[in-house]
Amino acid sequence: MFLAKSLTKLFDGLAAVQDVSFEIKQGEILAIIGPNGAGKSTLFNMMTGTFKPTSGLVFMDGHNITGLKPYRIVTKGMARTFQTTSLFDQLRVIDNLMIGYKWRTGLGFWNTLLHTPKWKAYQTEAFLRAMEILEFLGLTDKSEFFIPALSQEEQKRLAIGIAMMGKPRMLLLDEPTGGLIQEETDRITRLIQRIRDQGTTVCIIEHKMQMIMGLADRIVVLNYGKKIAEGSPEEIKSNQAVIEAYLGGEVHA
C-alpha cells in the first residue's frame, strides 16, 4: 500500500538518507532499524511530509504524495508519532485526543459559532471516538488529567492514541518504547499487536532488537543513510552486513 522510491535527503550536502527504496504491505508490521544517526527518523520525516526529499518519490495506494504537507498526508490515511514524545502538554488527555479527530469532521469556524446541527453531530462523533480510544489505551479514568500528571508510559500510549484518532490505515511509530523499562515495553508491544490485529498497517522504528524480532513481519536495516538489508527477522539476524553494522560500524565507513 506504501512505496518509497530512491529517497534521498541531504543536509548541507551531507546525505542523511541516500537512495532508499522499500515497500510496506497491507496489514504487516514493518520495522526500520539501524544504529544511532542512521537516518531512520529522517526517512520517516520524508514519508510523512515533514521534510521534502532532496530526491525520490513517496506513494500511498499508488498515488504520488511526495511533497505534500503533513496535514494533507494525514488525510491519505497515514498517521505518525514522534521520537521524543510529542503531546499537547497544556491540555487534558481528552482534548489531546479530540484534536486528532478534527480533520475528519467539518468542525470549522461558522459551524462552531452557530452551533449548527452538523456541529453537534461532529462534536459528539469526536467525543465518542475519543472515548473509544481511551478505552483501547486503558486511559479511560485519566481522561480529565493534564499531561504532566501522566507516567512516561501513559504519555507514550497517548501519543499513539492521538495518531489513531483519525482512523489511519497506516501508523508510523518512531521509537514508541524509547526510555521505557522492559515491563512497559512489553505492554506497548502488546498494544501495537492489537492495533495491527484491528487491521491497521504498522511501520515502526526501534532500537530494541529482541522486541523487534518478536514483533516485526519484515525488517529494513539502515546504516549511514543507506539500506543495507531487508527481510524477515530470521534473515536479518544472520545477515553479515547487519552484524558488522551493529558490531563493527567502521567497516563500511
Binding site: 482534548d95 478534527k102 467525543f127
Partner: protein, 334 residues
C-alpha cells in the same frame, strides 16, 4: 465536556445583572465615559486574547486594526453613511487589510511574528498621522455623530445620543464577543487553536492546517478589534492617530496579561481594573507612570498568570489543603 461549576455560573449572572443596572448608579458623566471605554477596551482585549492567548501568536498589530475600525466608521459616517452600515463595513475592511498582513506575517514565528506585526502597526499609525486628505493627519477627525435611532420591535425607538444608550450598545457588543469566544474556545475547533499554540509540529502531524488556523484566529481577532474601534469613534465623537497607535496595542497587551492570559474573564477584568488603577494613581501626577511601570514589572514577575491565573492557583492551594486535611483526618481515625 466543558461545563463550569454552578457557583461560578451564579457569580457571572450576578456580574451581568450588576452591569445591566449600572447606569442607575453612575451620575458622573466622566466616570460613565471611563466605564464605557473600559467596555470597548475589554472587547478589543478579548479579541487579542484569541490570537495571543489561545493561538499563541503575539500579534502586535492589534491597535492598528482597532484604528481601522475607528477611522473606518469616522470616515464613512462623515461621508453620510449610516453608522449601522459603517460599523460592519469597517470591520470587514479590517479583515480585508488583515488578509495580506496575515499572509505575510504568519510565515514567521515567535519574536519574528511579533516584530513584523508591530511594524504593520507602526506603519498604519504613521499613515493615520500623515494621510491628511483621508485621516485629517495629526488632528484626526472630529464631530462624529452618534448612531442614528433604530426601531426595535416591542421596545420601540432607541435614541443613541445618551450615554446610557451608548453604554448598553457597548455592553451588548461585549456580551456578543464573549458569547462568540466562549463558543469557539470551548469546542474542538477552539482546541485546534490551542494545539497550534502548544505544539505546532504535532498539530500539523494530526491533520490540522496550522497556517489556516492561525489566519482564522488572526482575522477573527482583527474583525472584533475593528468593531471595538468603530464603537470608540462614536462614543468619543473623534478619532486621532493615537486610536490606531502601538501604544494602544501595548495597553491591550497589559490588560490581557495582567488580567490573565488565555482566560475569557481575565481580559475583561484586566480592561476594567487597569484603567481604574491608573485613575486611582492619578494623585501621584508625574509619578503615576513611574509607579505603574514598576508595578507592571513586579506583577509579571510574581503573578505571571495574571489575576485570574492567581485566583486559580489560590483555588488549587485551598483544594489541596482541604484534601490533605481530609486524609489527615482519616489517618487519625484509622
Amino acid at each position: 465536556m466543558f461545563t463550569k461549576p454552578i457557583h461560578i455560573k451564579l457569580f457571572f449572572l450576578a456580574v451581568l445583572i450588576a452591569a445591566l443596572l449600572l447606569p442607575l448608579f453612575i451620575s458622573d458623566a466622566y466616570m460613565f465615559q471611563v466605564v464605557i471605554m473600559s467596555i470597548l477596551f475589554a472587547i478589543a482585549t478579548c479579541a487579542m486574547n484569541l490570537i495571543i492567548g489561545f493561538t499563541g501568536q503575539a500579534s502586535l498589530a492589534h491597535g492598528a486594526f482597532f484604528g481601522i475600525g475607528a477611522y473606518g466608521v469616522a470616515i464613512l459616517t462623515k461621508a453620510g453613511v449610516s453608522f449601522w452600515l459603517a460599523l460592519p463595513a469597517a470591520a470587514v475592511m479590517a479583515v480585508l487589510i488583515g488578509l495580506p498582513v496575515g499572509l505575510i506575517s504568519l510565515r514567521t514565528r515567535g519574536h519574528y511574528f511579533a516584530i513584523v506585526t508591530l511594524c504593520f502597526g507602526v506603519i498604519m499609525w504613521i499613515v493615520a498621522g500623515n494621510w491628511i486628505e483621508l485621516t485629517g493627519g495629526e488632528n484626526g477627525i472630529f464631530g462624529i455623530a452618534p448612531p442614528g435611532d433604530i426601531l426595535v420591535p416591542l421596545i420601540g425607538r432607541i435614541d443613541f445620543s445618551s450615554q446610557a444608550a451608548q453604554y448598553y450598545l457597548a455592553l451588548a457588543f461585549l456580551l456578543l464577543t464573549l458569547w462568540a469566544l466562549y463558543r469557539i474556545v470551548y469546542s474542538v475547533f477552539g482546541l485546534t487553536f490551542m494545539a497550534v499554540r502548544n505544539n505546532e509540529a504535532l498539530a500539523d502531524a494530526v491533520g490540522i492546517n496550522t497556517f489556516t488556523t492561525k489566519l482564522i484566529s488572526f482575522e477573527a481577532a482583527n474583525f472584533i478589534a475593528a468593531l471595538a474601534g468603530g464603537l470608540y469613534a462614536i462614543v468619543i465623537g473623534a478619532v486621532s492617530p493615537s486610536a490606531a497607535g502601538y501604544g494602544l496595542t501595548f495597553n491591550f497587551l497589559i490588560y490581557l496579561i495582567l488580567g490573565g492570559i488565555a482566560t475569557l474573564s481575565g481580559s475583561v477584568i484586566g480592561a476594567f481594573a487597569i484603567p481604574i488603577l491608573m485613575e486611582s494613581l492619578q494623585f501621584l501626577q508625574d509619578y503615576q507612570l513611574l509607579i505603574f511601570g514598576a508595578l507592571l514589572v513586579v506583577v509579571i514577575i510574581y503573578f505571571p498568570m495574571g489575576f485570574v491565573g492567581g485566583l486559580r492557583r489560590l483555588n488549587q492551594i485551598i483544594a489541596d489543603r482541604r484534601r490533605r486535611k481530609k486524609s489527615e483526618a482519616v489517618h487519625v481515625s484509622g
